[in-house]
Amino acid sequence: MSRKLLLEKAHVEGIRNYDVYRREGGYSSVEKALKSMAPDQITDEVKKSGLRGRGGAGFPTGLKWSFLAKPAGVPRYLICNADESEPGTFKDRYLMEYIPHLLIEGLIVSSYALGSNRTYIYIRGEYAWIVGILEQAIAEAKANGWLGQNILGTGFNCEIYVHPGAGAYICGEETALIESLEGKRGNPRIKPPFPAVKGLWDCPTVVNNVETLAAVVPIINLGAEEYLKIGIGKSTGTKLISACGNINKPGVYEIEMNISVEEFVYSDEYCGGIAGGKKLKACIPGGSSVPILPANLLLKTAKGETRYMNYESLSDGGFATGSMMGSGGFIILDEDQCVVRHTYTLAHFYRHESCGQCSPCREGTGWMERILKNIEYGKGKMSDIDLLWDVQRKIEGNTICPLGDAAAWPVAAAIRHFRDEFEWHVLNPEECLKRNYGLAHYADPRTPAVA
């Protein structure tokens, strides 16, 4: 049983309420941080802990905090990015829904460390019911003196506001989020300047994921030294993984980042194996934007080493034979799933969510979707596959924000690893409407009897 830091108390009855949360030891990190630590000490502690951003990019959080410009007389802001819209990712929702006070606690400590007196939670519009949960938690925290003026007599003031978005995936990109928070159209800004210098209302701003900010609580409580011991190498601490797709036990799991992918997929503690006794075909290990991996590359790397559930191991082999940890949206496809269909679905999503600001993404996402639709419905040509490859290549890296890359990567990986399946669709236009391509050579490398 791996160690739990974030969700340890998530199933205590009534943990959503302040009294229970406090009785279970909640808000102790705020006491510790505000009473015994200077803001810079907290940043150092987070830096030492090796905590990496849990939103997808995996950028070291302490380093990000240390980039924050601190000119005198200019307010600084902390924004919690709760705009979790990545298909396959639902870990933040779970955390906020079950144990909202943990996020509030992390936010207070982080706000203190960064000197943010007004902190925002930008939450996805579709999470409408969670807004109420968070606002109740904030009201309770305020009533008990954890928020407001002169918190714990330290002279530190902090208010937290919840701001629901309006249903745009792009507003999860930090500069688009800031624009949206300012009341404008959620178009990503052109960087530089980075938010750490010019963010919300042109003031220095830090934007962090929900899980990242919640992870500050155990770091302060345990100390960086202790936190560092969990996990492997540069992947320290625990990570929430939202597992879904064709598995027996979909759900949110907190893992130490030293378990193997094989254990995660097949052990009863986690996903519990592929549903219906079927075989594993492919997996997207980190949310829809990261490259898809066929079964033979998922459990073992190209070098034949065991692949583990952490940042380094999942990206081993680069994009040629690896993928990314991403936001932790672990999507499993079994032998009955069609990769072309799946790629088309994702392309449709990105076409719909492109903000339309820069040309490669605006035009390219729609083009890719149309080509994929043709191939999926048996109207494709062989040259379409190469065309698709060329279109994604021209989007990737040429856009303002990472949405262009996110749209291009799944298509590239699907063609890279499953080209035979695309070709089969082209060669068998009638059959592909009726049945699935199946497993071919990327079949589940496990022998069926292994428990």
Binding site: C355, S359, R362, G366, N398, I400
Partner: protein
């Protein structure tokens, strides 16, 4: 004595120039000359915040600065990236850049109607120039193009959204020149469009300038629509005393008839600055109401830049930009719109277009297919 300002040395396509800190790569390149300046569809130096959207000005930064000579991992938008001391930039000398630029042009064109034969912008269209320089002769897009409903923007301006490339320039003009902005971008992604709130008319003294900043034919002058092709009109610079604006304009004449009035444009297709350095925007009265030569005092013929097909009219002061470019392009000559008759055989008589199964491409012209007469 004031301390001398430190200048940044930047090398673009092997040509080194010293510029003030804070200059963007694009502006530094423009200082060198049109030979190395990346094309810009959305950037407009006189509009704050513009640029970065069209991605045609992408360049490769081969060395970040003297202090940190690492190359930048991605291509950067030169219009929004400021230079560092010792920066080495590759524009036309980089295969990567040319490839990416060709990609961007293709993206801009897949949903563009290509209705140049009936478009008023034809002949002075930035997208035409861009696709001529970087585009390919045929399309790989086999789907129906995007079509928008027409919006009515009042008595003077016609919005033709289908042609729009969403450069946002008109939004910035409305934002920065007029007091009440009523138009902006609606919807998102492929379906995003420039529109007004419930088809409101654009009504402001300076709103006519959106026509001039539009790089394509999405916003056109209703008083000029379908009157004439720009290459048949003769541009002259003129001025009048106007209480609202500078009154310095360009008249587009046919005989003695004023067909169109626009701002004066510089060699980058942007509105010319006045002697005091402010942009010479003009008001609606000068633009739409004063259509008689007697209202104006003529300053003289317009200096024609390379952007215009009217350069075919052999005007004085014509700048032909190809000498240094041949050197940096490894002996390849740049293809310019003003050379259209010598480069392309589009105007070659004797080709039976009716006999072709599909639209004519350069292959057809290369192979002949001459009329048998």
């Amino acid at each position: 004595m004031a301390e001398e300002k430190k200048l940044f040395k930047v090398t673009i396509d092997n040509i080194t120039i010293e510029v003030e800190p804070g200059t963007t790569i694009l502006n530094a390149a423009r200082m060198i000359g049109s030979q190395v300046a990346p094309p810009a569809m959305c950037y407009y130096s006189k509009l704050q915040g513009s640029g970065g959207k069209c991605r045609t000005c992408l360049v490769e930064v081969a060395a970040g600065s003297t202090a940190d000579p690492r190359p930048m991992p991605k291509l950067v938008a030169s219009c929004r990236t400021t230079v560092m001391d010792g920066m080495v930039v590759k524009n036309t000398t980089s295969e990567k850049v040319l490839d990416a630029r060709a990609g961007v042009v293709e993206f801009l064109l897949i949903n563009h109607p290509l209705d140049c034969p009936i478009c008023d912008q034809a002949g002075e269209c930035d997208l035409q120039d861009l696709s001529y320089a970087h585009g390919s002769e045929s399309t790989r897009f086999e789907f129906q193009k995007r079509i928008f409903e027409k919006h009515d923007l009042g008595p003077y301006i016609q919005l033709h959204m289908t042609r729009c490339i969403l450069c946002y320039r008109c939004v910035y003009v409305a934002d920065q020149l007029t007091s009440k902005r009523v138009h902006g971008v609606l919807d998102r992604g492929e379906r995003s469009e420039i529109a007004t709130y419930i088809e409101k008319a654009l009504d402001n003294d300076f709103i006519g300038n959106v026509i001039d900043v539009c790089p394509v034919g999405a916003l056109t002058d209703k008083t000029f629509r379908f009157k004439n092709r720009v290459w048949f009109t003769k541009p002259v610079d003129a001025h009048r005393h106007c209480t609202k604006c500078c009154g310095r304009v360009r008249l587009w004449l046919r005989g003695n008839e004023v067909l169109r009035v626009t701002t004066r444009r510089d060699k980058w297709g942007e509105v010319e600055s006045l002697p005091d350095g402010t942009p010479g925007w003009i008001c609606n009265e000068c633009r739409f109401e004063k259509k008689h030569v007697s209202s104006w005092e003529i300053d003289g013929p317009t200096r024609i830049d390379r952007h215009s097909v009217i350069a075919q009219g052999h005007y004085v002061d014509l700048e032909i930009p190809n000498d240094p470019l041949v050197k940096v392009m490894h002996g390849n000559k740049p293809r310019l719109l003003l050379d259209i008759h010598s480069v392309s055989e589009v105007n070659k008589p004797g080709i039976d277009l009716a006999a072709l199964p599909g639209p004519p491409t350069s292959k057809v012209y290369d192979q002949g297919n001459d009329k048998k007469e």
